[in-house]
């Protein structure tokens, strides 16, 4: 199991379009992928858009990303990269 703290940096936060991108990315992997608010109040299944939206993660929110499974390293790398790219939201 791998863990990493990620930061929501795009302007609108984890809104529908960003969440859709996150869910599409997560769904490409076998591993179980969870995103949690750091206070533990909400834990979301990263492959469920309904669950991810409930995180209500605004810009500046820190989330705990947990990945467990046979392709956990690849999944973690892909998701961290997505967060670093501001969830694909900020464009050139």
């Amino acid at each position: 199991m791998l863990e990493r703290r990620v930061l929501v940096t795009n302007r609108l936060g984890l809104h529908a379009r960003a969440a859709a991108r996150l869910v599409r990315t997560a769904s490409a992997y076998q591993s179980t992928i969870k995103l949690a608010r750091t206070d533990g109040s909400v834990v979301a299944d990263a492959k469920s858009i309904l669950s991810v939206l409930v995180l209500a993660a605004a810009r500046g929110t820190e989330l705990l990303l947990t990945v467990a499974g046979i392709d956990e390293e690849a999944a973690l790398a892909a998701l961290c990269e997505l967060f670093e790219r501001k969830l694909g939201e900020e464009r050139d």
Binding site: A16, R17, A20, D45, S48, L53, A56, E90, R91, D92
Partner: protein, 600 residues
Amino acid sequence: MSRRVKSERAEQFWRGVTVAEGLAQGRVLRLHGGATKSVYRATLAKSDIEREVQRFKAAVELARNQLLGIKERAELALGAEHAYIFEAHLLMLEDRKLLDEVEVYIRRERANADWAVRVAADRLLAVYAEIKDDYLRERSSDIEDVTRRLLDALGGAPRERRLTRDAVIVAEELMPSAAAELDFSHVRAVATDAGGWTSHTAIIARGLGIPAVVGLRELYRHARTGDEIIVDAIRGEVILHPAERTAARCREEIAGMRPAERSALKFAHAREPLRTLDGVEIVLRANVELPAEYEGVRRYGARGVGLYRTEFLLAQRGRMPTEDEQCAAYAEVAALAGADGAKVRLFDLGGEKIGADDGSTERNPALGLRAIRYCLRREDVLRTQVRAILRAAAGGRLELVLPMISDVAEVRRARRIIEEERAGLRRAGHEAGDVQIGAMIEVPAAVLMADKLARTVDFFSLGTNDLVQYLLAVDRGNDDVADWFRTLHPAVLQSIKRTLDAAEGAGIPVNVCGEMAATPAYAVILLGLGARDLSMTSASIPRVRRTLAGVDAARARVIADECLACETADEAEELVRVRLGTEWAGLFLPGSLPAPKPRP
């Protein structure tokens, strides 16, 4: 709202917010049941459970296919920016959290799938209702949208809606997917309980020139499919069960208002030159951004495209479009505009639209790195766009507009780059068309330097929205200062006059774009100030055309001169209200003139 109790059919009146102007009469088509479609509980025999689960899965598949189709159509018509919501809907339909819950419920409770879907959705909605976040509460309408689609799919209800020719859509809120599915060529008007100026419905309605009024509380609850209804999206009113007298007056007004729109044959009139009563020729062009608006350009007889906003190309893809993609888009607009040509404005990007690389946002984006400043800073972006325009201009008439010019030096730099790219294209064996180059006049500095600028460009585009904002230092998106946004402020009128005079002195044309030109009363003042070339949302063209055809340029000039001499915006508005209302009483409906100011 006044309601008489005696007869069910008594005339009922609502006031709302106009999001797309026009006037229409027709019959109500209620869309999408109330907040919850009635769903009944049935208990299944054990032997039926497996079949019910299969029925549910088939419904999910059907709904999914519908959504894929909707998403594709919406991307074409509105761009990825507006279509992304259907990607979220698709993911909701595929969401294990929802699917598993429904399936488990069917098996455990031996419930019919419809009931199980409703229960699962209501549980989800309850979770969202707990969250104190406006954005997420909005998402509950997406969950509701997906739920209804699933329920419809389960019922085998055909989603294709057969619209009568006189359909007026009445809904609590027009869900984005429902809006994208409608065959809008059959819709006369739209009236909804909720919604706003920027809703999908509003954007589509404006693009197609369909009158739309929103914010009509409880209209949906009172209206029944088949009821007679008038949507007056000029005054922002809706009348249900109009009395015969009201209906007759409305028919008369429609007949008087838009004679050119009633049949394809009569559209021909719209192409004839527009002249004022004293014979001054006026050119009306279309402002265009979304492909959904192209149809309106043809329908309303625009003389080409006065302003093509290219930012959509970026919003559509969520990335910078390539040279070839841009070239194809510009060629399409050139073909649409025909011999009258299209003025292509360089990317008016900045602040919000691009987002800063380091995640920081400008404190003051309206005054920040935007429009021509952004283009000159990001020369790679500018050069790509210029090449695309020059190439497309080889096959059609295009002009190029430099946005937010405040200094002659910016024009010179842009011109040099354009010339370099033209030479480069020719060296590479590409055809490059001749393109006239114009400056947007929207910054006070440009107004003051207009005589100098006029000698460096081929034409001016006078952007009144931004000019008012910058001249009066009023953010037009800020409701708190909305009272200071005064289009008829003497400073605005003097700036317009000064710009028109400078252009005349240098012998170059001026196209006035911006919402000011689309408002008949203001269009008359623009005429009086000397404007002869106006550009607006195409749906506004028939109204402005009818107004300008009914006035004298000479008399408009007298009124405009009086406005120029006013001391306050209040004074100018009062003058316009009184003078236009008396000179051309038949042309100006009470709601179409500045409202009288209550005396303090």
